[in-house]
């Protein structure tokens, strides 16, 4: 997850979804007996539309409306998206547990107002992390909200597991 710091530009085709996409839709309850991201990834967003897992083979950016990831705290939702090859979710807003899970696991979660109106499903877009913008096919650049200090600390550590590993090595218990 240290790659987060290194990959300054994330390019890919966007999958556009609506408001209030809940974690049951991201990964339905019947698949939760595994924790393998690849296995979970086969069913990513299947609850929203069974054709999405197939689409995600060539999409790596999700653009969403408000309150993405609401509902259950299941971290499998983040693992499913990572397993399906998703690199970043740009949403108008996130539900809080999903947001924390995403950051902890190295899935970038960025907030950009009105992004859903500006991106069409299938558009090739780019996230420029250095400049804090999403670049659209028209050349328009949409700024995303800067990440909070404590969030950046976790990203810089390479995710929460790595942060904990370092703290344990330093004997901070």
């Amino acid at each position: 997850m240290s790659e987060v710091g290194e990959r300054k530009l994330i390019e890919g085709r966007a999958l556009v979804v609506g408001d209030n996409v809940d974690t049951d839709a991201i990964i339905p309850g019947r698949y939760l007996t595994t924790t393998d991201p690849k296995e979970l990834g086969k069913h990513a967003l299947e609850g929203l539309d069974p054709s999405i897992p197939e689409k995600l083979r060539e999409r790596s950016i999700i653009v969403a409306g408000r309150n993405f990831g609401c509902g259950s705290s299941r971290e499998h939702a983040v693992l499913a998206l990572l397993g399906a090859g998703v690199k970043v979710v740009i949403a108008e807003s996130f539900a809080r547990i999903f947001f924390r899970n995403a950051i902890n696991r190295g899935l970038l979660a960025l907030e950009a107002p009105d992004i859903r109106q500006k991106v069409r499903d299938g558009d090739s877009i780019a996230v420029d992390l250095d400049r804090g913008v999403v670049r659209l096919p028209t050349g328009e650049e949409v700024p995303f909200k800067p990440l909070a200090r404590e969030v950046l600390e976790i990203i810089e550590a390479g995710g929460l597991i790595e942060k904990l590993r370092k703290e344990l090595q330093r004997g901070e218990l």
Partner: protein
């Protein structure tokens, strides 16, 4: 203006006071994991080779697959039994003991504590004035190892309650009504804090239901202030509360509420699919034919929920072609319902009574829905596919409305029997 959440977080982070929006590192008193979210937490611990320094503060529940309906589920349980061997000191609740949140509020959570659970409905314990919030599995693992976690002190959403609930309305109707007003993200990142003269008429059961579903509005946590109703409740589990020590958890003064609800005016509410915030008064959906009715879950599977259902079902029958599934939320609830004869009433009326667990609410076992079926449920979520088939439609309501609907065979107004 000060919130009780801010007071609890200040104390837990060794501070005099904290500001809304500020990030604090707080001591975590208890961590809860279960058989769906727990396996990821165990993987993290294993990956790090980390020891569990305080097993006595870790609560582990085998409740979502209770009993396991499949080989993978049974194998998950094997991992937890191995953990129990390694750490005999963990608080371990095997299949049949009950839904994590119900068991936690049966004397395992105390006022003023900081509790995190790898489950979104951990907000439930706010009914006992604990700061309790849902976290992911990795964060749960972090809290297990470190005994602390970072929190942003949430802005409060103050809701003032006045009046008293009529006979036919319950905590479920209160929270569905509130969700209908604030919407599915109306409390996102905030603490939902209740106050007002209506509290003295509101049972702990009703408060638990409200706190449980506060997360359906996005709330980080929920808080009911410390009061005499809570003292009585805790006494029932053998806790003698020292009142003067908890005075800081009493209702704060000088609060300007964001929302006011007169409990006396509430009607039975129903949330239409696919969001708990799609709440309407029952008459707007009355007559919708149902295939399944479910009473149970961490939201509404308590003794008083079974009691009101039995009251309605006594001497009546579940409609032909409809199945009513009743899942007591814990073994304590089930035992009391057996001893008091409620289970017999339910069975006589044609209900199926299952062992305690998360089963039907979670779409895992003990009552999965089929294609195109219509369900009325006392649980907390009516998302697409939540209880099984993505083609099923789920309506949420109080146990009284669910029981009445089960008798009629369509969504029906509980005032018919409780008016």
């Amino acid at each position: 203006m000060e919130s009780l959440t801010a007071r609890i977080l200040a104390k837990a982070s060794g501070r005099e006071r904290v500001e809304f929006g500020e990030t604090v590192v707080a001591k975590v008193d208890k961590v809860m994991i279960h058989d769906v979210t727990g396996p990821i937490a165990l993987e993290v611990l294993e990956k790090l080779g980390a020891r569990i320094p305080r097993p006595d503060r870790l609560y582990v529940f085998l409740d979502h697959y209770s009993p396991p309906p499949s080989i993978p589920a049974a194998n998950i349980h094997r991992k937890f039994r191995k953990l129990l061997k390694e750490y005999p000191g963990i608080k371990f609740f095997d299949i049949g003991e009950g839904v994590c949140h119900q068991v936690m509020i049966e004397g395992n959570v105390l006022p003023g504590e900081v509790v995190v659970g790898a489950d979104s409905h951990t907000t439930t314990y706010g009914a006992l004035v604990a700061f309790a919030t849902g976290v992911g599995s990795t964060e749960a693992a972090y809290a297990i190892v470190k005994g602390e976690l970072w929190f942003r002190v949430p802005e409060p959403l103050f809701i003032k309650l006045s009046g008293a609930l009529p006979r036919y309305a319950f905590g479920k109707d209160v929270i569905l009504y509130i969700l209908g007003i604030i919407g599915q993200e109306g409390a996102n990142y905030r603490s939902m804090e209740f106050l007002g003269p209506g509290l003295k008429h509101l049972s702990i059961g009703d408060r638990l239901t409200i706190a449980n579903m506060s997360v359906e509005g996005g709330a980080k946590n929920c808080i009911f202030p410390f009061d005499e109703v809570m003292v009585e409740y805790l006494k029932g589990f053998g806790y003698v509360v020292e009142l003067n020590k908890l005075s800081y958890l009493r209702e704060p003064e000088g609060v300007k509420p964001d929302l006011e609800v007169n409990l006396s005016e509430l009607k039975p509410m129903v949330s239409k699919p696919p969001s708990p915030a799609n709440a309407v008064p029952v008459e707007e959906v009355e007559g919708e034919r149902i295939d399944m009715a479910f009473i149970g879950s961490c939201t509404n599977g308590r003794y008083e929920d079974l009691f009101i259902a039995a009251k309605i079902l006594k001497g009546r029958r579940v409609a032909k072609g409809v199945r009513l599934i009743v899942t007591p939320a814990s073994k304590q609830v089930l035992l009391r319902a057996v001893e008091d004869g409620l289970v017999k009433v339910l069975l006589d009326a044609g209900a199926v009574v299952t062992p305690p667990g998360c089963g039907a609410c979670f779409g895992a076992n003990l009552g999965v829905t089929g294609d195109d079926e219509v369900v009325i449920s006392s649980s907390n979520r009516n998302f697409v596919g939540r209880m099984g088939s993505p083609k099923a439609k789920i309506f949420l309501a109080s146990p009284a409305t669910v029981a009445t609907s089960a008798v009629e065979g369509y969504i029906a107004d509980p005032r018919r029997y409780l008016g």
